[in-house]
């Protein structure tokens, strides 16, 4: 897993976010303020721009650059959260990158989201997609399956985690203001997390 791999991941994530932008915004309109799609699309566009302007020379640099850009350009709740996740992942990532090393770094990134947002699984946030993804990744690595397979399991876990937010009542973020009325809608941040993991699995 070299620098190219991580560039491909973020490029793929940016494409998926762009393609699903309006859907993410609609999810946010239902239980938030209708800006999640535009926020992330703006952010990932800037991420690719920055990676293009200052070409990174290591996987860690890719993640650090992406995290910093998301923090500096997105705003809202998702900006600092995703930004910190990528930055922590970058800081924890050791080169050469092994699947096991990546799983550890990824878990550090997810921890950063939990620490910053103080959300736990079940609060109906991106954490509900990221934590299962992190677990699946660690599990797969332990089982020694090859990277590609491990990423696919993580992506599936994230996707299932996102869908599992539908029946939940939000306890964090804007959706929590709706109380009972937040039930029955998928959390936009969990949905975008699933997209980012899908992009990881799609890197070839």
């Amino acid at each position: 897993m070299d620098t190219e791999f991580f560039l491909a991941w973020l490029t793929g994530a940016a494409e998926l976010v762009r393609r699903h932008r309006d859907h993410l915004t609609e999810l946010d309109a239902a239980i938030g303020d209708a800006d999640h799609g535009t926020n992330l699309d703006r952010g990932f566009t800037e991420v690719l721009q920055a990676l293009d302007d200052w070409p990174p020379t290591s996987p860690a640099q890719v993640l650090l650059s992406a995290g910093t850009t998301l923090i500096r350009r997105v705003g809202g709740a998702s900006g600092p959260l995703y930004g910190s996740a990528f930055r922590q992942m970058g800081k924890a990532l050791e080169t050469p990158v092994t699947p096991a090393g990546f799983a550890t770094a990824f878990e550090a990134g997810v921890r950063a989201v939990e620490r910053l947002g103080k959300a736990v699984p079940g609060d109906k946030t991106m954490v509900d997609a990221l934590v299962p993804a992190s677990r699946a990744l660690a599990q797969a690595v332990q089982e020694g399956v090859e990277a590609r397979e491990a990423f696919e399991r993580a992506a599936r876990a994230a996707e299932e985690g996102a869908k599992a937010t539908i029946p939940l009542r939000a306890r964090k973020g804007r959706a929590s203001y709706l109380g009972e009325r937040s039930v029955g809608h998928e959390d936009p941040g969990a949905a975008s997390s699933a997209l980012i993991m899908a992009a990881l699995a799609a890197v070839s």
């Binding site: 915004t25 309109a29 239902a30 239980i31 938030g32 303020d33 209708a34 800006d35 535009t38 926020n39 703006r42 923090i71 500096r72 350009r73 997105v74 705003g75 809202g76 709740a77 998702s78 900006g79 600092p80 959260l81 910053l116 947002g117 009542r169 306890r171 964090k172 973020g173 804007r174 929590s176 203001y177 709706l178 109380g179 009325r181």
Partner: protein
């Protein structure tokens, strides 16, 4: 969607260009709106910010007796740390900077990150959370900051002009928040330029109770009712949380698309309600101050005054959105 904009992408920039052109007393640089004339040596500086779409909040309250800088984010999206860092460094006159933050996860996270990164400036921060529609519990992100933000900015701004130290300004700012409560009701949704259609559908005969200021749906949907009844719903919610007593500062605020005439109708009912509880409307504001784009509806914000707060409220203020005494 019909809006007076050039493109959804350029609306913030274009509006800031117009704001700067309309108000020589302001300076706009890198998405931050400053009070002209640079930092005031020895004066505690006030910085606020948040998503755009709430105009005149916050940029319209930059000036003498209120804010030294405002950081407008994208529409309904809190500003990024860079804006807050730039603003904080630029306005510090050596007496420190107070961050006035509305209680939303995004605003809190971005202001926190910024505060951590400006070790070179003494920063205190006050969290505004006045919306009684949201119960402050383990099950929510806590109460939203809405109309009381204007009260905090005005009163803390007046105290800062008097030369009070940062700790004191922060303490009184927190006190204003503790003494204030709000409740909002929407007659229509609002349309964010990027979304292009109303955030939620609200049928002809219904209204949303307990809305915030980001076009998010409220706590409940009920049939449309006369102004007297809608005002009573808002006031009961406030009174149930903070009993109406003594001298009150009351704002009847329009959500952006509601004409002034209707706000006066609501204010008449609010005044009658307050009188009915044996309290008194000692100071008031009626108009569009903390808005939600083109949403039709209103919110009521009440603050229990004492002599100090009344004096600070009455102190001269000179901003595009609020002006008296000079």
């Amino acid at each position: 969607m019909k809006k007076l904009i050039n493109t959804a992408e350029s609306v913030i920039e274009d509006a800031l260009t117009g704001l700067a052109a309309a108000h020589p007393s302001l300076r706009v640089r890198d998405r931050v709106v400053y009070r002209a004339g640079g930092p005031r040596p020895g004066k505690v500086a006030l910085v606020s910010g948040g998503g755009s779409g709430h105009e005149p909040l916050h940029a319209g309250f930059v000036g003498h007796g209120m804010l030294d800088a405002a950081c407008p984010g994208e529409i309904f999206t809190s500003p990024v740390p860079d804006q807050i860092i730039d603003a904080t460094r630029a306005v510090d006159g050596g007496a420190g900077v107070l961050h006035i933050v509305k209680n939303y996860t995004g605003d809190v996270l971005n202001f926190e990150m910024a505060a951590e990164l400006v070790e070179d400036v003494e920063v205190a921060s006050v969290l505004v959370d006045d919306d009684v529609a949201v119960r402050d519990s383990l099950y929510t992100a806590g109460r939203r900051g809405t109309g009381a933000t204007l009260f905090v900015e005005k009163i803390a701004g007046a105290l800062a002009e008097e030369g009070a130290p940062l700790a004191e300004v922060a303490r009184v700012a927190g006190e204003v928040d503790e003494r204030s409560r709000s409740f909002g009701i929407a007659l229509t949704s609002c349309t964010a330029p990027a979304a292009g259609k109303p955030t939620f559908d609200l049928p002809e005969g219904e209204v949303e109770l307990g809305i915030g200021i980001h076009g998010e749906p409220g706590r409940a949907r009920v049939p449309m009712a006369p102004a007297r009844e809608l005002a009573a719903v808002a006031m009961e919610a406030i009174h149930g949380d903070l009993p109406l007593e003594g001298d009150l500062l009351v704002m009847v605020n329009g959500m952006g698309g509601t004409p002034l005439m209707e706000l006066y109708v609501v204010f008449a009912e609010v005044t009658a309600f307050v009188r009915g509880k044996g309290a008194r409307v000692a100071r008031s504001l009626v108009g569009n101050y903390v808005t939600s784009l083109d949403m039709q509806g209103f919110s009521v914000t009440v603050c229990r005054l004492d002599d100090t707060l009344t004096r600070l409220w009455d102190a001269p203020v000179e901003t595009p959105g609020l002006r008296w005494g000079r």
